[in-house]
Symmetry: C2
Subunit: 409 residues, 2 copies
């Protein structure tokens, strides 16, 4: 019975591209049409067929990781891109979304990130060994979307470009006090202190990140300019000329957006400027993928602008600019995955086969989502006063570009 | 009794700057503190005192226009700026907002702009004599926010810069089909057709604007490239490579935002790009000033991002960029007012003293609102596909600037 249901679901779903599915009894079926060679998905267990009918997103990820769904490694990206593309075009029957809608009501709970839960969530992901992250990230360990001024740009250069693009939006002057909320392994804090002459306080909830960032600060001789603390954004006090937060808002959860922006306002000096860089949807809010929520980012949620705007409006913050980066994160994930595969012997010395498949699925699924969904990166620039930011964007581009950088040197 | 109530309201309201009020019985009172010389407001009728208590915004405008409130012409801007600034800082007692909150529930009705009502609303304002608008607008009759790359830029140049800045965001190529929703007196359509070699359909609901725009098109020898129609955005069909809408969304009303963005999507080609330029609040939605709604823009509403974002998200449009222009509209209003005052002898030949005071109050009140409130201009760039717009903004700035303009020539 479940084979028939899945067969009908897939027949309805796949209208862009071609998919070949081999069922547990050996039957092979093709879905979709067109000239592309079909990618093949082999289901090895009858229970996996049932799981795919009831909770497609979760079952696909879990099936791939535990090996009950086989997809040739070379086909993985095409298979996931095909499935995401067809879902984006609304190909699932109405009832198939029922589980997701029901779970979305629970999402408020799943992302009710109290300080204690936020700490556990962060530890789950970021306290994996630094040595592991070093294997696939750039030299500076930027674990967020890079900025490719050209699609062929090497990853290291695109991550440097990202930091300086953000620095430009922060309108830095030497000596300014900067808060970095979610400072990761300290790359942004080090760059701002070294290249722009500012005083940075970086905060993270990950012990590993704190220790590594602190060691890097000391090694760079920047202890006088950079302070790294293990702290929650809700417990910080003081006034900062600038606030930067890159790839942290995804961990905040919709229930806390108002608090987040209220804290931002409270921590900003009167003429302060903040830059929040976050993954974002250009579509109505929807719950995080169950598989991602369970396996990768507990408590995570990707915001839509319709969730962020009521929050910063109530916090009495001027939205002074929004850049919507499209394509950049797909490229970033593609680089990460290529480096991950290249480093596979080292990865296998640290983790088992299940972990390898989980991480591969995560990187490829994210790349496919950025390619096929209404999913990009928002860079929100916010201020307390409308004149805290120049009246045109010329300060960021053209002849004026990097005027602040040169002033700092 | 009403004198006492108004006295208490003002004592509570004014904490930034100084205001001197002369009551109908001749009593003079000072509010606020600080070194600024006080601006003086003379109330000539007891009934105006009562009206100011019950509906401050409406009564102030009506009192100024009918002469029962006197403000020295040189002081008008400072007086209005002072009142707006103090309101923005939350200086009115809770009950004073009750009327406004009650009216905001009715605002849905006030801005329920059916096609017939939309036509009447537009006629109210835009079918004033073209000769009048010519007296204070720039040579091209751009009746929307200019783009000042330098605050000292002359108005004509800043309006030219606005059109080319928008043209840059439209990524035009010769021969493209462009729809201009709310084309005014045709300035944008003419510029795009002449300088970028595109085919433009301009629509307006004002007969005056349609006639003037059509005459300008013919005079420019561009009948083959520009079509001007008197039409509502809801009745247009076809597919356009680009859509531009400047200063029109303010007339749409929140009840119609979903329809507006759905129409935008339906009218856009698959790889199309739209640019919507509108006044916007960087604060929670609130109703339009009663005085503006009654006297200047019936059916008008200034959107907040929290009202626009749910609408474009549901319409399945990619938000590809948002520029938030701050300060530019205050400068634009300042220019308009200076030109209006300089042309006063001609204005008086067309309209009576009451009209002159109404128009002066409108221009000054708008300038003050842009200076003191969370009110700016949003330029939303929207597309159906994420790759319809380049991955970085370099196409709009720096060396690539105007690449499209050069290609067109």
């Amino acid at each position: 019975m479940w084979d028939t249901i899945l067969d009908r679901m897939l027949a309805r779903l796949v209208s862009h591209g071609r998919l070949r599915v081999i069922y547990p009894d050996g039957t092979a079926r093709q879905y979709g049409a067109g000239p592309d060679p079909a990618t093949t998905l082999t289901i090895r267990q009858p229970r996996t067929v049932r799981a795919l009918c009831l909770s497609p997103d979760l079952a696909l990820g879990e099936g791939y990781v535990d090996g009950t769904i086989a997809i040739d490694q070379a086909d993985l990206h095409d298979a996931l891109a095909l499935l995401v593309r067809n879902r984006t075009h609304g190909g699932l029957p109405a009832w198939a979304g029922a589980g997701a809608r029901w779970r979305s009501r629970l999402a408020g709970w799943a992302t009710r990130n109290t300080p204690a839960r936020a700490r556990r969530n962060v530890a789950h992901h970021y306290d994996l060994s630094d040595d592991f992250y070093r294997l696939f990230l750039d030299a500076d360990m930027q674990y967020s979307c890079a900025y490719f001024t050209d699609p062929g740009m090497p990853l290291d250069q695109a991550q440097e470009a990202k930091k300086h693009h953000i620095a430009g939006k922060l309108l830095l002057r030497p000596g300014m006090r900067v808060l970095d909320i979610g400072c990761g392994w300290g790359g942004m804090a080090l760059t701002l202190a070294r290249d722009y002459g500012v005083q940075v306080t970086g905060i993270t909830l990950s012990r590993n990140q704190r220790d590594t960032a602190q060691a890097r600060v000391t090694a760079a001789g920047l202890d006088g300019r950079v302070t790294i603390r293990m702290a929650d954004y809700r417990t910080i006090s003081g006034h900062f000329d600038r606030i930067v937060s890159v790839g942290m808002l995804e961990h905040v959860g919709p229930a806390h957006y108002r608090t987040f922006f209220r804290r931002l306002r409270a921590l900003l000096a009167e003429d302060g400027v903040a830059l929040v860089h976050t993954i974002g949807f250009s579509e109505p809010p929807h719950p995080t993928s169950d598989w991602i929520l369970r396996n990768i980012f507990p408590g995570g949620h990707i915001p839509s602008m319709s969730q962020l705007s009521p929050a910063y409006e109530r916090a009495q913050l001027w939205l002074t600019d929004v850049e919507v980066l499209r394509g950049h994160y797909a490229l970033t994930c593609q680089h990460w995955r290529a480096r991950f595969e290249a480093a596979l012997p080292e990865v296998r010395r640290m983790y088992d086969d299940r972990f390898v498949r989980m991480w591969r699925y995560y990187l490829v699924a994210c790349q496919a989502a950025f390619e096929e969904q209404w999913q990009g990166v928002f860079q929100l620039q916010l201020a307390r006063r409308q004149d805290a930011v120049p009246a045109t964007r010329d300060y960021l581009y053209g002849a004026d570009r990097n005027a602040y950088l040169h002033a700092a040197q």
